[in-house]
Symmetry: C2
Subunit: 487 residues, 2 copies
């Protein structure tokens, strides 16, 4: 494979690219521009809700299909629970209702009639799963229950942004029930590792794995684990969480089973979730000023074939031949429309297609095509006889390149702080993760939020002793934490 030549139509390209704001100028505006111009979403008449357009939904389908396979490999089964939760059911677990009641949507009427008891639209389904587990789990033989559900949930947020925080979003929620705390804890960690694997090996997105502080825990959980990613602008994005509930929910919902010794006992529980927010994470991890950049594993189109001088004899025939080969090895598309090549280059750059393949009369003469990587613009001339070997290699190279670039950026934006002044200085001037020691008390966590504007992201599994003192109060430090500003 050698470097080759291409035939861009720079004027048309400039025109399209100019229609999105640059990251540098206004990151938030850039993000919204990409969501709209790459045709991932449209706004809806319902405030705070979004329409996921075909290109955006195809990314979600790819995420869903591949993540679902990982869930099934680890023994999970899919189920479907009702959309509604009666108010009395939501109230059964005290911490849980306090966490969620302020942000749920309430249904009060069915048809013309007022309901006897109002119901909320599920913000999450722990209560529904518990109610069901109580009915179906009676003996140790009924355990474990390893369930997952793909569905929509609603949280009545005040401020919303496409994918990152919308009033309705799509997600999966795993809910499992186990005989022992050890087994439930192992499940919680297993699913966190599945999420981390998915983020890194499918989305090319490095993540920090860790446990949340008590303050940041899920409502009703004994422990919440998280994967945290760093976006292009230096803000953190919580990208998946896995919760261990102990037997708290089981007691509140009266779930009991007869164990092998014939005792009536409570089981132990977990839940874990990821959402369409992952699409936001992809945009803000890999995107650039030309638009979206998609990791090959979830790209709806992995290779776009663009004929050059397609009116010349033989070009379209050869293009169709090449397309047939491409379709054997990847998700490929031929754009045979009457737009100019330059317009098409810009269009598929905007849409983040990992590989562009240019095929013109000169290429055909040489029995080759030019392949351009979206992640770094690198051009390679590929023999048409070797396309079925070269394209998968190039797709892998794009994945690896994206991961490496994201990892390097994260590392270059991760700072160690040894005392409060240093932390504050970093927080004020350098977007990114701050690693700092913590004594473990809530007061220091609150103070860092108030005085430095950072929240604790997680206590990472990979601990390192940066200093012996808490960055805030100076007392003996217990943990090294990741701090940051977050979406």
């Amino acid at each position: 494979m050698d470097k080759g030549a291409s035939a861009p139509d720079d004027m048309a390209k400039d025109k399209l690219v100019k229609s999105i704001t640059s990251m540098e100028e206004d990151f938030a505006k850039w993000y919204t521009d990409v969501c709209l111009k790459a045709e991932l979403i449209d706004y809806a008449s319902v405030k705070g809700c979004m329409i996921i357009r075909p290109y955006g939904y195809a990314i979600w389908e790819n995420i869903q299909r591949q993540m679902d396979a990982l869930f099934k490999e680890t023994g999970h089964e899919n189920v479907y629970m009702p959309l509604f939760i009666p108010e009395s059911l939501l109230q059964k677990e005290k911490d849980h209702v306090e966490g969620f009641a302020p942000e749920v949507a309430w249904v009060t009427h069915g048809g013309e009639e007022e309901l006897e008891e109002r119901m909320c639209v599920r913000p999450t389904s722990e209560t529904l799963f518990c109610d069901h587990f109580k009915n179906i789990v009676h003996s140790y033989r009924d355990l474990p229950k390893l369930y997952n559900q793909w569905c929509n949930v609603v949280r009545w947020e005040k401020t919303t942004r496409p994918f990152l925080r919308s009033r309705e979003f799509l997600w999966q929620e795993g809910h499992t029930l186990h005989a022992t705390p050890e087994e439930a804890q192992a499940e919680t960690i297993q699913m966190l590792n599945v999420y981390a694997k998915f983020a890194e090996e499918y989305l090319a997105m490095p993540v920090v794995k860790g446990i949340k502080t008590e303050k940041e825990r899920f409502a009703g959980a004994e422990a919440t684990y998280t994967i945290e990613a760093l976006m292009h602008d230096g803000k953190a994005l919580q990208s998946g969480t896995s919760h261990y509930f102990g037997d708290g929910f089981a007691k509140a919902f009266d779930i009991q089973y007869t164990d092998k010794n014939n005792n009536l006992v409570n089981p132990f529980q977990t839940s874990w979730g990821t959402t369409t927010r992952l699409i936001g994470a992809i945009i803000m991890t890999h995107g650039d000023d030309s638009g979206l950049v998609l990791p090959p594993a979830v790209a709806p189109i992995q290779a776009i074939l663009i004929p050059i001088a397609s009116h010349k004899p033989g070009v379209m025939e050869k293009a169709n031949e090449v397309l047939a080969k491409l379709k054997n090895i990847c998700r490929a598309k031929l754009d045979a429309s009457d737009q100019t090549p330059g317009w098409k280059f810009a269009e598929y750059e905007m849409k983040g297609v990992p590989l562009r393949i240019e095929l013109g009369p000169k290429d055909i003469e040489n029995n080759s095509c030019v392949v351009v990587r979206r992640d770094n613009g690198e051009k390679t001339s590929v023999s048409l006889d070797k396309i079925e070997e070269a394209i998968p290699q190039l797709l892998k190279a794009v994945h690896d390149g994206l991961y490496k670039k994201a990892l390097e950026r994260r590392d270059s934006m991760t700072y160690d702080a040894h005392d409060f002044d240093e932390l504050k200085e970093i927080a004020d001037n350098k977007p990114g993760f701050i690693r700092a020691m913590w004594c473990g008390c809530r007061e220091c966590e609150d103070k860092l939020k108030e005085d430095a504007g950072v929240t604790s992201r997680c206590i990472p599994f990979e601990q390192e002793r940066i200093s012996d003192k808490c960055v805030c109060c100076g007392k003996e430090a217990k943990y090294m934490l990741y701090w940051g500003k977050a979406y």
Copy 2:
């Protein structure tokens, strides 16, 4: 392949089978028993909603995956629209709001605050699609739009039954927009044909294709096409519908585009849907007094391997070998639990698994296994060397057997009526379809409903002139119709 011997444990089997009501005794109770005992559903705390358990949901996943492939083959893309519809949006198309407003669930509060405008939970999404189409369709180049969405919808029904009529259900709804009425009409018929193909080739369920009378049309449609199936008890089940809207919605929602002649015109629209009701159709088409009978294409387990005398040396080793072979060719499972073979036979009969494979010491000695068909109980001895050829053939035989049996039953329960007395006599005494001529007027349709208790199912595409007179008023007949009692 020869008839072989099996080793049932009749006592255990009897015990389990007795726990469901027979069809003869009480069909409705039989239906509910199957839903619960085959672990398809559980009841939820929310009245009229159901929990779809793993085995039921796996059937839906199989339906969804294969139907989605047919949609994509015909050029459709998936999207996701919001769950909520603001009241003002629902009211834009007059007939549509009249049809749906009485049965929607209303959200009035978000968190602690009352909403300025209440929203309903989508009962169907025409209004949302129209609202979106208005934003994204401007030129003839933007047409056609061929969209589909898989989601949940809510209709606040008074009487509910699992799968057949529940307040929340899962479905797919296609929504398409076209430049010409001809193109939109062709789409409506194409998708009806996709549904009929799916019913017959995947669900082994014969259907009558036809058009609904004006009275039975979807709210807001110019024409509604339907596939109608006949259940075991002689009641009809509408199993999928496809609607042609003309430009009615486009006008109500002000969707306009510039055509090739630079005129601003309205496009033409369709929608089409099928639901989890299809699972109810499967149960009531193929089920029997031993429980569920699943068509192989959608069965979560296509072949269940049951070891006989599994404690004897070599049995489990051989069973695992056979399982590995089976997994290459179908969805297979080995039940290695410590339940008796008889218990297992009854369990997988209840669950409708198409093929049971028995493997004991004697079979192993003969290098064979016994395969039992769920649809007719037929036993075949199959050489272990030929299992990879025999099982797919047997699965096909089960599909064909189920289709044939259902078709024969439907034909034997379809009656022609030539005048009102004959129709009334059939309606009162013989459950099934009644074919009869109709003059085309609403009065006769209402009268047949009132005085004979039957509703018009459809005007079938395959017309036959049974007589020259309307079965009700005796005036000149226009169409032959299917009439019946329906779910």
